[in-house]
Symmetry: C2
Subunit: 552 residues, 2 copies
Amino acid sequence: MLSTMQDGPLSLATLLRYASTAKAAGEVATWTGDDVRRLSYSDLGRQAGRLANALSSLGVGLTDRVATFMWNNNEHLVAYNAIPAMGSVLHALNIRLFPEQLVYVANHAEDKVILLDGSLVPLLAPLLPQLEAVEHVVVVNGDPASLEAPAGVEVHGYDELLGAQSEDYDYPVVDERQAAAMCYTSGTTGEPKGVVYSHRSTFLHSMHVCTGDGMSLSARDDVLTIVPMFHANAWGLPYAALMCGASLLMPDRFLQPEPILAMMAAEKPSFAAAVPTIWTGVLGQLATHPQDITHLRQVIVGGSAVPPAMMRAFDDEHGVTVVHAWGMTEMSPLGSVAHPPPGATGDEKWAYRISQGQFPVQVEARLVDDDGAIVPHDGESLGEVEVRGPWITASYYAPDGVAVDEAKFHDGWLRTGDVGRITPDGYLTLVDRSKDVIKSGGEWISSVDMENAVMAHPDVTEAAVIGVPDPNWDERPLVAVVLADGASAGAEDLRSSLEAHFAKWQLPEHWAFVKEVPKTSVGKFDKKVLRKQYADGELEVVELGAPKPRTA
Amino acid sequence: MLSTMQDGPLSLATLLRYASTAKAAGEVATWTGDDVRRLSYSDLGRQAGRLANALSSLGVGLTDRVATFMWNNNEHLVAYNAIPAMGSVLHALNIRLFPEQLVYVANHAEDKVILLDGSLVPLLAPLLPQLEAVEHVVVVNGDPASLEAPAGVEVHGYDELLGAQSEDYDYPVVDERQAAAMCYTSGTTGEPKGVVYSHRSTFLHSMHVCTGDGMSLSARDDVLTIVPMFHANAWGLPYAALMCGASLLMPDRFLQPEPILAMMAAEKPSFAAAVPTIWTGVLGQLATHPQDITHLRQVIVGGSAVPPAMMRAFDDEHGVTVVHAWGMTEMSPLGSVAHPPPGATGDEKWAYRISQGQFPVQVEARLVDDDGAIVPHDGESLGEVEVRGPWITASYYAPDGVAVDEAKFHDGWLRTGDVGRITPDGYLTLVDRSKDVIKSGGEWISSVDMENAVMAHPDVTEAAVIGVPDPNWDERPLVAVVLADGASAGAEDLRSSLEAHFAKWQLPEHWAFVKEVPKTSVGKFDKKVLRKQYADGELEVVELGAPKPRTA
């Protein structure tokens, strides 16, 4: 029995038309270094019409990919809306990818046009000759003459191109499962992989951001959006803001603590979103340059785990609530958000706040062990987190129809590669990446938990934990330790200090005292190198007594 | 280019599973006359499992209709969730329908099972022999022995039936466009017409209720749901509350001002929803029995226009914000909600608050004139309101495939039958039902506006305005007036008093002084009777000079 309901699509064209009329008073403002450039949502609607006409005049049609290589600013928001609304596909290029990755993703997506910020011309110009599908580059906020066109590519100035266009565009009706935008993961292993969002997934995700289980975004908000629009859709804030009429404050290229605090002082945003390192910098700046930031009703932090000390500093010193969120490019990106349940207080509330948060109804999560068996949500059992839902990807983009990295999917669920526990009421705590978790005697030991415990010892500067092969246990933890200058703690001392935090069978017997832990280019522990050093016999290992093998 | 997103359905089974785990701490509480019966959402999940198993044991399968004939209470909420989750179709029968309408809708929907509140046995028992598809009646909160089973019908006690059942039920995956629930309009003309909601439409509508453009519902709310669950889905509150973890306070059969204020005093809900007449009664009771009701952060009022004086009384005397909403059974039911835009103050804010409100992005609205032409959203031009969107019905339920009342639909839009104006920012003000609007010289005159203006004259007790045929103007307004005792105003005086409010060509020339305006059984002006009296020459009409025909 079918319902009698209408069957029209959830559509980003509808969202654009709506925002530019019903929420016409909302605005996006971009920091210029000492002031803002403003664009009301009604003017945004007009600019989007001009951009859609301009792109059509360049031959962009349904499902053609249009890339952006831009900062968070007014023009990027116009592109975010015009491109999907006209039935084309927005591809926000991550300006921080390595050159060969940039070339790969632009070619893999077959980007036909690139909107390029004037300040980023020097970064992209050398790569342009390698971008096989690109026919047009539109220079935004800059001089088109600054870019020499490679053969087969036309260069345009944004203002000149749009100036001649009508503000009216007859946006097509597209199926809600059609592509609206795409984003590539910046995976550290293998080629970047493309995720293709639909009108449906983006529309639903935007609605979620406007609810209390998301970010409670409303027309009363002004959202300082520091998280880049080329990174996981700026956590869904741009579309959600248009949906509810929240205003947006964009930092453009001014991402240092000083300008961020200057734009906050000038515009007094009610909401802000950025990764932890940005907030660490802001806190540092505030310590020496006090400023009232209580205009912020909430700060969303994600991208990596938030240090609890940072959350407390915002709470205690600045009266601002920091909310932790977790997600992935593959998840549009919002998975869980750490709103404590109403009524929680004190330590219980803090336990909720420092978790990765609770999943909303739209994102189902489960934990799966090494054998693919489901692990209970009891707040203790560990498993790899798998998720499914209408804004979770089912695959990676494969223009040639050849499935990409099928190991990332499992019976219709996305394998996140993260290991954690989930409470009965659905709060997630991550403990490790699945490739780093130590599988010992049929149980899992979190390398991250053990590293944190070892690093809590006053003699230790750094500690990295990897699993090493063991005939009785499959794997056992090996701790690579960097001691503080002049410190003398031995393996026995350090192991004793762990006894309060780990079961006896978990206590590590392999210890390597090293000068430094090998690190990746972005400063993370490079456990791949550490494992190879161990395999090649390059680590000098202190061996303590192994625990007795457990009986099943 | 299809997206790579997962394609799972939006599903009320998912919502039920989610609410009973992630939002397990939420609860529904039902007033018993002097206290509440509570059911946590985790227990609701268990009860829903038992009900689903019980209904399965009675032979209820996918798409079978299960009716409820119940008050707002814990058991009704269990039924609301279990029935769609198991892939069957919930049909909440309106206990206030006339007997012949009840028989019609239960037969039209082919209800197989009825869940019947014990207190309502006397109301339904006489009709049961006429309900052709009913095989089982389950008496809830009452003695099954109080109901004599007609031939072919089995009677069960709810507790006995559920007691033996497992709390685990393997809810099926159903397409999101499948029927979840149905509701019949209680149209005053013709047979009631069925609207069939889908899992998709209900899920999306619930998300909307949780946003600021809806009702900002969240886990911090406790929602006094007075609007009946058998009337337009209780405005979507039951499903939305489960989605976000808001608690629900149900009045059961205690719908008078005194018990409503008693349950408010006991439970201190943060949110309440009811039609204006309920609130008028509550205000009256508060006048003689003062009580602090500032625990209410918001009161949603809909179903008919809210008297501005009532909104001001709640504001000024009780510190409670009343928010006006407009919708229809055909719209799930939420259309527009009168949240003023942020920044609006004083008279401007009040103008927004007494409008029918702003449409959300999911409900597109347009105004259409008599010729089917689109009328601009300029805040002045009048047209019939047409709406479309994912929770608007596209047709009425037709078990035999024969389209019902096609005149209610227009190119994929629902014709609401309401005439109004819409501002450029999407706020709707209704001025008339389309069948009552006066079409004069190609323009529309609102009968409601004119009635209000005439009734503002101190000599007038009642005034009803109808359109009567006119050779030059198509229609002209005729005002039927009831003068106050001893009053002597004539037609000229009354017409003069309208000059400040209407254009010269709109001023009515036909006046009938009557003893009373004919009324329907629910006390509304019966303009059908008035039109017939005029046509039959039964009205004594004072004729003033007609305006000159306008030139086009």
